[in-house]
């Protein structure tokens, strides 16, 4: 269950202790996003209507989109600072990301997809594959190892993508609607697995989701994207969850 946070917690704790501090703006086509956010080692839900900029926000955190103004700090490291012309590109940030539609590499098997981040960080192929198969097995998708993404269902792809995103113990986790392709039962199962995984990771975890149950079950805090600005909501969970 989510703990309840009230008010603007970040002010209470003081800047230096925040894992993620982002204050700036970015423009993507006709969308202008003005952000002022600081969160700690929490699981943060990101909600809002379609097209409002939730994915853009994740892309800025990931290093796929530079800020136009402002700064971004993660765990004390400056990843983006427009005034001082500092920008750390995505491949140098220790990020675990699940995109909408998963985006598994189609020419690799599920196993190789999961092992990829490990190999990219220097672990040998054999060892990486062993770690990958272990992780997949733990999550109950070991049997999918040799299959190609095109042979998997949407839900299976999503699970593989999740395992891949978390396998390298990233310092920043960005999940863009990670449970959307799963049916209700699978969703429940994966959600509880995900909660355990995320809780065991240090660092901040951002989850974009429309599902109220996800918000309630998974997260410590919710950030609601609204026009024209971003607002920080306390998580007073009044919704009723139907099991």
């Amino acid at each position: 269950m989510c703990s309840r946070a009230r008010g603007h917690a970040w002010k209470l704790d003081g800047e230096a202790l925040m894992s993620v501090m982002l204050k700036g703006s970015v423009r993507q086509g006709r969308l202008i996003l003005d952000i002022d956010v600081a969160v700690g080692d929490e699981i943060v839900a990101i909600s809002g209507v379609n097209g409002i900029g939730k994915t853009t926000f994740l892309r800025v955190l990931a290093g796929l989109l530079p800020l136009d103004t402002g700064t971004l700090q993660v765990n004390g490291n400056v990843l983006d600072d427009v005034n001082n012309q500092i920008f750390v590109p995505a491949h140098l940030r220790n990020v675990g990301m699940v995109f909408q539609d998963n985006v598994l590499l189609p020419f690799l098997s599920a196993l190789d997809n999961v092992a990829y981040p490990l190999m990219a960080s220097g672990i040998g192929r054999q060892e990486a594959q062993q770690l990958a198969i272990d992780a997949m097995g733990q999550h109950g998708i070991g049997h999918l190892a040799q299959m190609k993404p095109t042979q998997l269902s949407g839900g299976q792809q999503q699970r593989v993508a999740l395992v891949r995103a978390l396998i390298n113990k990233p310092q920043l986790v960005l999940l863009d609607e990670p449970l959307s392709a799963l049916d209700v039962d699978a969703r429940r199962e994966v959600r509880s697995w995900l909660r355990d995984q995320l809780k065991s990771l240090p660092g901040t975890k951002f989850v974009v989701t429309h599902d109220l149950v996800d918000i309630a079950e998974l997260c410590d805090r919710e950030i609601a994207f609204m026009q024209p600005q971003l607002q920080l909501l306390g998580n007073e969970t009044q919704t009723t969850i139907v099991r």
């Binding site: 892309r59 491949h91 140098l92 995109f99 985006v103 598994l104 590499l105 990219a120």
Partner: protein, 269 residues
């Protein structure tokens, strides 16, 4: 998915079947006509020795080199055209298509204008400084073939690059791969089908090139007389050899293209 052949057939309009059959017939009838003329018993003899075999060997070697040049030059060009926005981009793209629409002989004249030893823009300089004469040389054949084949490769690769979802590369970036790694390990592999198709088309075009070759590189037996040139001349003096040679070239081309398709077009359900 589909439950059987009958269902798929019923969904295709009749005019599509008719059009496709006509197209196939249009292409196959001349092929059958050619096959009918080949004297099968003497085919090996006709091709195994003399000018015919030299022409075949020259064609195969030059077309492969020409395709390699088209690849090395065409891939970066396609990248720029597909990924980088700049003023005049559509103009550049139209220029790249130029060798495709130029009559090949005119292409040869253009090549002479650039690389001809006597009157070319840089041809004289190439000869004086490097002792390099492209005209009447196998290298000139490669240049002529690469010139006509390049646009085909650029077109196929540019189209392929545009159709790649950029999120694959982004996903790879979040997994820790730098730009260079992403290019070799992700982009190229996603591009593979288009790349293979582009290489195949470029190679076939290089192999069949006649007008630019004969105008620029000349027609010297053993040096620049490629198979199409040899076939043209043989048609008057020894038609049997001409048909045989044509068939052998065709067979090699078909064999390679079929082999390429098999390994890269994947097995989709």
């Amino acid at each position: 998915m589909s439950t059987g052949k009958r269902r798929v057939g019923a969904e295709t309009p009749l005019f599509v079947w008719v059009g496709a059959s006509c197209a196939l017939l249009f292409l196959l009838l001349p092929l059958v006509g050619l096959l009918k003329r080949v004297a099968w018993s003497g085919i090996f003899g006709a091709v195994a020795s003399g000018p015919a075999s030299e022409a075949l060997r020259l064609s195969l070697i030059t077309s492969v080199f020409a395709t390699m040049i088209a690849l090395v030059l065409g891939l970066p060009l396609a990248w720029v055209l597909a990924r980088i926005e700049f003023r005049g981009r559509s103009m550049v793209r139209a220029l790249v298509m130029l060798p495709m629409v130029l009559p090949p002989v005119v292409g040869g004249v253009a090549l002479l204008g650039a690389y001809g030893k006597s009157n070319g823009l840089i041809g004289g300089w190439l000869f004086d400084v490097f002792g390099l004469q492209l005209t009447f040389s196998p290298l000139g054949v490669v240049v002529a073939e690469a010139f006509v084949a390049l646009p085909f490769l650029v077109m196929a690769v540019e189209s392929g690059l545009r159709s790649i979802d950029p999120r694959f590369e982004e996903s790879a970036a979040t997994m820790g791969l730098g730009p260079s790694e992403r290019f070799w390990k992700v982009t190229l592999r996603l591009l593979a089908p288009s790349l293979i198709a582009g290489v195949a088309v470029a190679w076939a075009r290089a192999l069949g090139e006649f007008g630019a070759t004969i105008t620029f590189a000349g027609n010297i037996e053993g040096r620049t007389q490629t198979t199409p040139l040899a076939v043209y001349l043989l048609l008057e003096s020894d038609p049997e050899a001409a048909y045989a040679l044509s068939f052998v070239l065709l067979a090699i081309c078909v064999a390679v293209l079929v082999a390429m398709r098999g390994s890269w077009m994947g097995r989709r359900s």
